[in-house]
Symmetry: C2
Subunit: 238 residues, 2 copies
DNA sequence: AAAATTGATTTGTCATACAAAAACTATTGC
DNA sequence: GCAATAGTTTTTGTATGACAAATCAATTTT
């Protein structure tokens, strides 16, 4: 896990939410099924009902469960799950095949990022462009593979932000996870890819020039390259 | 508001979360700023601290705030907000200009839906196709404009599901809101648009025929039409 | 058979107390 | 003077016990 800007909170309710959340994502508790009641969790974990309730509240807020008196907490259908929530995505990530997960992130990036790059080229303001430039500079300056990934993620998030559409922001999380996996898969023999720099530079140039079409093309090329990076790697995921 | 499948919970903690959430989205509490502490909310609302804490937990889970002892609850930067969460999107929707919001949903739909339609055409299984067919049938059978919108939303959500990529599911919420607005804006003089049926049928045929390219084209045409629907309407949003 | 009543179970809310974290302040030692 | 240190204070975190409210299931009543 190369990048981690926020230290994870380790309160009891957070830990319990993580525990239950992971198990839901793993399929131990299936959609439509019921969770043990609050008292049972409390006994199982040696915590008060207060903690249990706050953990369940967290899961409710993320769309994983729904609670009603006399009934209990029911796992909601997957369509209700807030998969683009950072925690939920983490739990999902821990539960599924790495290779398949990466493929689905790539699929989504194919949909979003070229169009987002176009929007960014057409609508970015100076501050947003500056942020993108900084991220690119940091990619070039990066000494370690880890620094490089962090700057890479920041580049793509800056691009998303430059598209000036709030509804696109949650996608940053997907990119973050995707690049994190890419790092895990390829970093060993690919410490500082010069080609990646060039590909990102082309995106930056297009955005700087406010050239939407070029931005699309550059981003697609970048994603082509990303696809290629993963292919030759042996499956070592879970 | 034409479609509402789940009755809204009216527990105290839910109401308080909504109250605070709306005010954050409205900008009354700005990112980086602090919320009043738990005791203050309790006094202001005449509720126990338990309720306040569960409300705040909800907001934490949605990425709106972050709490630390001695400091309090800080509003997080917008990039952390889970805007694709149903509640957050509702609050956002209530806070922004309707016309601008609709435009941003259209922008996102332009990115996602054609590609999603392609994936659906290529990867859908029989059950998923059947769901799509049913939704389309319901669109045709719809007696009222309201029924029509519900079926329309279901059609697009079924399409999303047929793409077989969990990461795309959260987008259903955007479509739901977008079509809801469209309904509010245009339904008066556009009770049952035959053209819309035809456009959706083309998408369905492409998916049925597993023709990815045709699916993209059909969806783009559909979105062109959607754009056109809004344009001539006078601004009556807030 | 349908409707109203009762009973049991689970979540929802309240009140109070104390623990733990973290910023702030004062003190100490050099 | 300054830095490390130790205490102080404020705010959230957790525990406990009690009761209210919602709701499903069975029972009774009509």
């Amino acid at each position: 896990m190369p990048h981690r800007t926020q230290k994870p909170k380790n309160n009891l309710n957070t830990k319990l939410a993580r525990n239950i959340g992971e198990r839901i994502l793993l399929g131990e508790f299936q959609p439509g099924g019921l969770l043990p009641n609050e008292a049972a969790w409390g006994k199982a974990f040696g915590t008060s009902r207060t903690v249990v309730r706050e953990a369940l509240k967290t899961l409710m807020a993320k769309g994983l469960i729904e609670s009603r008196p006399k009934v209990g907490s029911k796992v909601l259908p997957r369509s209700q799950w807030n998969i683009l929530d950072r925690d939920v995505l983490d739990w999902h990530h821990a539960a599924v095949d790495r290779q398949a997960f990466f493929q689905s992130t790539q699929e989504v990036r194919r949909l979003i990022e070229p169009g987002a790059a176009k929007l960014a080229a057409e609508k970015r303001n100076v501050a947003q462009l500056a942020r993108l430039e900084t991220a690119f500079t940091n990619m070039k300056k990066a000494k370690t593979a880890q620094e490089s990934v962090i700057a890479d993620v920041e580049f793509h998030e800056a691009l998303m932000a430059a598209a000036n559409n709030d509804l696109l922001l949650p996608f940053g999380i997907i990119i973050e996870k995707a690049l994190g996996d890419l790092f895990d898969f390829t970093t060993h023999r690919n410490p500082q890819p010069k080609q990646a720099i060039k590909l990102h530079e082309r995106v930056l140039l297009a955005v700087r020039a406010a050239d939407g079409k070029a931005a699309i093309k550059a981003m697609n090329t970048l994603l082509d390259n990303t696809d290629g990076l993963l292919a030759p790697v042996s499956t070592k995921g879970k």
